[in-house]
């Protein structure tokens, strides 16, 4: 491919979840002839099985395509896909840092949503050229003019040239391709300056070591170059560079403005992190590129192998996964009940879910997760402050001056008719009302400050159900606030099980205790002896349920064919038993540790 910096366009696509971002990407690949239609799997850039199954984009992914524009020139388009869910805004900010422009996809039937606003503001912050694309104009309920006006009024982006498309049928997509060449600026940067390349993603390959995805901001890089990682100060020799189309194509070099991949036999994955700058070791750049805004994990949980012999496997899997998922953090911890494992931090519950599934599928692990927790700030009587990410590590109550919990500012965009139910829900979830604005004639934005811990317990599902799916939610961390909180211990057979501890809002502790013990009573299989399940706060039992002992499990009749059937049943039970943890003398199934999560709504 001939290199001409003026003919490179680096852009990403931003959209609210389900507004058709991945479908538009598919269409672009098809129309540029990058992928033939018969090879096109739905949502090509969603390379993980998990992404295709759930129809969501989790990982950003980059692809290079060539496009011959109407001006007769050949362009190189680097498309960087972005995730649409609120949990993954960090990934969005990373991909935006590698671009000069963004396509803003808005569903013509739904209009601007809370998440759209959040992502557009990120793009504008990054000085990107934003091109509006109104999608799904082929649907009978499409209101393209209305949506255009909405984008102009609410976001302040000129929509007179907005592309009207149907990503599904391909209608209007050629205009989008033209607009990219015409309106998105070519990358700036000095091809003769010392190399500065931004790492925006990486993954591990067992043959080549770490593969990094880079955007060359200044200079160029080629095979054989000695490169320096500016933060970790490590030097490597480049073994391979190329572009992804989406299959990897070796090019031998990457020039100023280009996006592609690079390998350099980097074996230690800790040496590389997204946001790192690559330069040449002999002629280094003066300073690294500005790093990304690093978003801290909001939710923590314990992650343990069901089979304690798999601890090392889990450690290795986490190392590799965190390379591919910069927002995942983890450190070793030990639980009396679950043995050796890790405390992991996530951007949100969806992220946690995705990490669990990826570990189980891609690394063939069987995991136990403890209920997620936010990070609490605990001010001790000696005025020192502790950050607590694991409820079981809560200090003695007598030494605590106050406990503070994280609050988020939540914006909920909703049709006006649901404002009432939403406010009720927010009140129930201990929200503090901050604002209510009209967005347009029919929609309003409800703003509340809410404890993050309430949001992670089923808030989103409740919101969807009380608004028939019409409300959209966006939130960001606001501040820590003092709260009336206490640690609730769960005792099985009289012994506290550290992995089941949680931090609760005291005025709701009694109800929550009842809900948890009755849930556990149903989940934990009956044992040979009766097992009391108790919830206690500061050593005082607030709720109790008993798991009755099993007295009879034998099959009454066992002749001839019954024998083989019984053997099969027992073997199935034996397999089920292997997925349980022995806590003291009680066999506890995996899901018990997460059960605290699903009972949030049983509380009146």
């Amino acid at each position: 491919m001939p290199f001409d910096q003026k003919h490179i366009r680096n852009f990403s696509i931003i959209a609210h979840i389900d507004h058709g971002k991945s479908t538009l990407a598919d269409r672009i690949l098809e129309l540029t002839g990058t992928v033939e239609k018969r090879q096109l799997k739905e949502q090509m850039l969603d390379s993980m099985d998990l992404e295709r199954e759930r129809g969501i984009t989790i990982k950003l992914n980059a692809v290079t395509v060539s496009y011959k524009a109407k001006d007769g020139q050949e362009y190189i388009y680097n498309l960087i896909d972005t995730p649409g869910h609120v949990d993954f805004s960090y990934e969005v900010s990373r991909s935006l840092a590698a671009c000069e422009g963004a396509l803003l996809v808005v569903d013509a039937t739904q209009g601007v949503q809370a998440q759209t606003l959040a992502n557009v503001y990120l793009a504008v912050d990054n000085d990107l050229m934003v091109l509006p694309v109104i999608n799904k104009v082929d649907l009978p309920s499409a209101r393209p003019d209305y949506v255009k006006k909405e984008i102009e009024d609410r976001i302040g982006i000129d929509c007179s040239d907005a592309s009207l498309v149907s990503a599904k049928t391909g209608l209007g997509v050629p205009d989008v391709l033209e607009a990219i060449a015409k309106d998105i600026p070519a990358p700036e940067g000095d091809p003769k300056a010392p190399l500065q390349a931004l790492i925006f993603d990486s993954y591990y390959d067992s043959y080549r070591g770490v593969v990094v995805l880079i955007r060359v901001k200044n200079g160029s890089v080629k095979v054989g170059d000695k490169i320096l990682l500016m933060h970790s100060k490590k030097v490597y020799e480049v073994t391979e560079v190329g572009i992804r189309t989406p299959n990897e194509v070796k090019t031998g070099s990457l020039e100023c403005g280009e996006v592609g991949y690079l390998t350099a036999t980097i074996k230690d994955i800790k040496d590389v992190f997204p946001g790192e700058t690559i330069t040449l070791s002999e002629t280094p750049a003066k300073e690294p590129l500005p790093g990304y805004r690093r978003i801290n994990p909001m939710v923590y949980c314990g992650l343990y192998p069901s089979d304690s012999k798999k601890y090392e496997d889990l450690k290795e899997a986490l190392e590799k996964l965190s390379l591919n998922d910069a927002s995942l953090v983890y450190q070793p911890e030990t639980s009396q009940a679950l043995g050796f494992g890790f405390r992991c931090g996530f951007l949100g519950l969806l992220h946690m879910d995705v990490v669990q599934e990826r570990l189980e599928r891609e690394y063939n692990l069987d995991l136990i997760l403890t209920a997620p927790s936010v990070i609490y700030e605990i001010e001790m009587t000696d005025h020192s402050v502790i950050k607590l990410d694991n409820p079981s590590k809560m200090p003695e109550p007598t030494k605590i001056k106050e406990i503070r919990e994280p609050y988020v500012s939540a914006s909920i965009m909703t049709p006006s008719e649901f404002v009432g139910p939403i406010m009720e829900l927010c009140q129930e979830k201990r929200g503090i009302y901050t604002d209510l604005q009209y967005f347009d004639d029919t929609r309003q934005i409800v703003k509340y400050d809410l404890p993050l811990s309430e949001i992670i317990y089923s808030f989103f599902d409740r919101l969807k159900s009380c608004t028939k799916g019409y409300a959209s939610l966006d939130y960001e961390f606001a501040s820590y606030r003092k709260s009336d909180l206490a640690k609730m211990d769960i005792l099985l057979n009289g012994e506290a099980v550290d992995a089941l501890s949680s931090i609760v809002y005291k005025p709701q502790a009694y109800n929550r205790g009842i809900a948890i013990v009755s849930k556990l009573k149903d989940i934990i299989p009956r044992q040979q002896f009766s097992v009391p399940v108790q919830a206690a706060i500061n050593g005082k039992v607030v709720a109790r349920a008993d798991i009755k002992a099993v007295r009879k499990d034998v099959l009454a009749k066992c002749y001839g064919g019954d024998i083989s059937r019984k053997k099969k049943l027992l073997e199935a039970q034996k397999r089920g038993k292997k997925r349980m943890k022995s806590v003291g003398s009680v066999e506890v199934p995996q899901e018990a540790f997460m059960s605290v999560l699903s009972i949030g709504d049983d509380i009146d």
């Binding site: 099993v550 007295r551 099959l555 066992c558 001839g560 083989s564 019984k566 053997k567 073997e571 039970q573």
Partner: protein, 364 residues
């Protein structure tokens, strides 16, 4: 080792009981004739050169066959029985006529097993049984009169909302039959039965355990020994045929849906009559390794009150039971589920009811 037991299945019944999940078909003459033809062909092939210490004709209801066909089956099987062997037929009170008993007698049948199931008219109706308690009582009396002394009666407990008082009456009625062998089964509700479709629930294990304990107490007082989870006998009247299963010994199985165990392989016949009549008997068989053989051994032998002898185990598997299972045995003994006594491994009274727990510990 050559199998020394033969099971023969007659799948026909004149009515279908609400709880029954055995392989059964409503009796129809035009099916019964070709079926018996094919069945005897299967027996001939599988039993070639063998003779049996026990033969068991079960069902279904063997006595629902018309007399000539019934006679044909017994006449065919009779020569395969060893001297002093046990020859059992299953029967229903309503179809055990004097004629049937005469035929049975002529061909060497010496044990009859019959379902009483309950003494309450209401319960019998609920279960879809075709007889009353009085009719059952008469059938047992008739069998005795005709010289059959080795008789078994079945009882089902754990029926929907059954009380201990109700069960106590059933026990009285059962003991009044004065037969040397009794079997009691707690109701299990399996898919494909009327009870299942009616969403009838099995008794909670706590209630079932109370009922079982009442049965155990009353039967023991009446001089019956529990030799297996659900089986009780006066000394010397244990079912030799069923002991084959619980000793994990091989046996030949013939007939629709029947199971067998030969050359270290468990097999099950088809439940499809059309296939069966074409001579395609086999439905499935298992590949078995040592772990499977161990599991089968425990699963069967530990149902017996006397369990198994350490010496027997070692002879069969070539290693010492305790050497391999010391840790598990210690914990089971500690939990009061297992006993080591006179070089035998036995379940305790508590353990026999929690056999699944014992087995899951041993199936490591």
């Amino acid at each position: 080792m050559k199998p020394s037991s033969l099971y023969v299945h007659i799948p026909f019944c004149s009515s279908i009981c609400a709880y029954c999940d055995f392989c059964k078909l409503l009796y129809r003459k035009e099916f019964a004739f070709p079926y018996v033809e094919e069945l005897l062909k299967e027996v001939e092939g599988k039993a070639k050169g063998l003779s049996f210490h026990t033969i068991y004709v079960g069902g279904g209801t063997p006595t629902c066959l018309e007399d000539p066909l019934f006679e044909k089956v017994l006449a065919f099987l009779s020569p395969y029985l060893e001297r002093n062997g046990e020859f059992t037929i299953e029967a229903n009170p309503e179809s055990l006529s004097k004629e049937k008993l005469l035929i049975a007698k002529r061909f060497g049948v010496n044990r009859i097993s019959m379902g009483l199931e309950s003494s309450s008219e209401k319960r019998l109706k609920e279960m879809g049984r075709g007889h009353t308690y009085e009719e059952a009582k008469k059938a047992f009396a008739l069998a005795k009169e005709m010289g059959f002394s080795n008789l078994n009666a079945d009882l089902i407990y754990g029926l929907p909302d059954e009380t201990l008082e109700e069960l106590d009456k059933d026990i009285d009625a059962l003991l009044a039959l004065d037969v040397p062998h009794l079997s009691t089964y707690s109701l299990t509700v399996n898919e494909g039965t009327l009870f299942y479709n009616k969403k009838i629930k099995e008794a909670d294990d706590n209630d079932a355990a109370d009922q079982y304990e009442l049965i155990l107490k009353r039967f023991r007082e009446a001089g019956y020994l529990r030799y297996e989870v659900s089986n009780f006998a006066r000394p010397g009247f244990e079912s030799q045929h069923n002991l084959t299963y619980w000793h994990d010994e091989e046996y030949v199985g013939c007939g629709l849906g029947a199971s067998g165990y030969q050359d270290e392989v468990h097999y099950t016949n088809t439940r499809n009559l059309t296939k069966y009549l074409k001579g395609e008997y086999l439905d499935s068989q298992e590949e078995e390794g040592e772990q499977d053989r161990l599991e089968y051994y425990f699963l069967t032998n530990l149902r017996l009150a006397e369990g198994f002898a350490l010496e027997e185990f070692e002879k069969r598997f070539g290693f010492s039971f305790l050497a391999k299972y010391q840790k598990e045995v210690d914990s089971l003994i500690k939990d009061g589920l297992l006993l080591l006594e006179q070089k035998r491994v036995k379940p305790t009274d508590k353990g026999i009811l929690l056999l699944d727990r014992i087995l899951l510990t041993l199936f490591k």
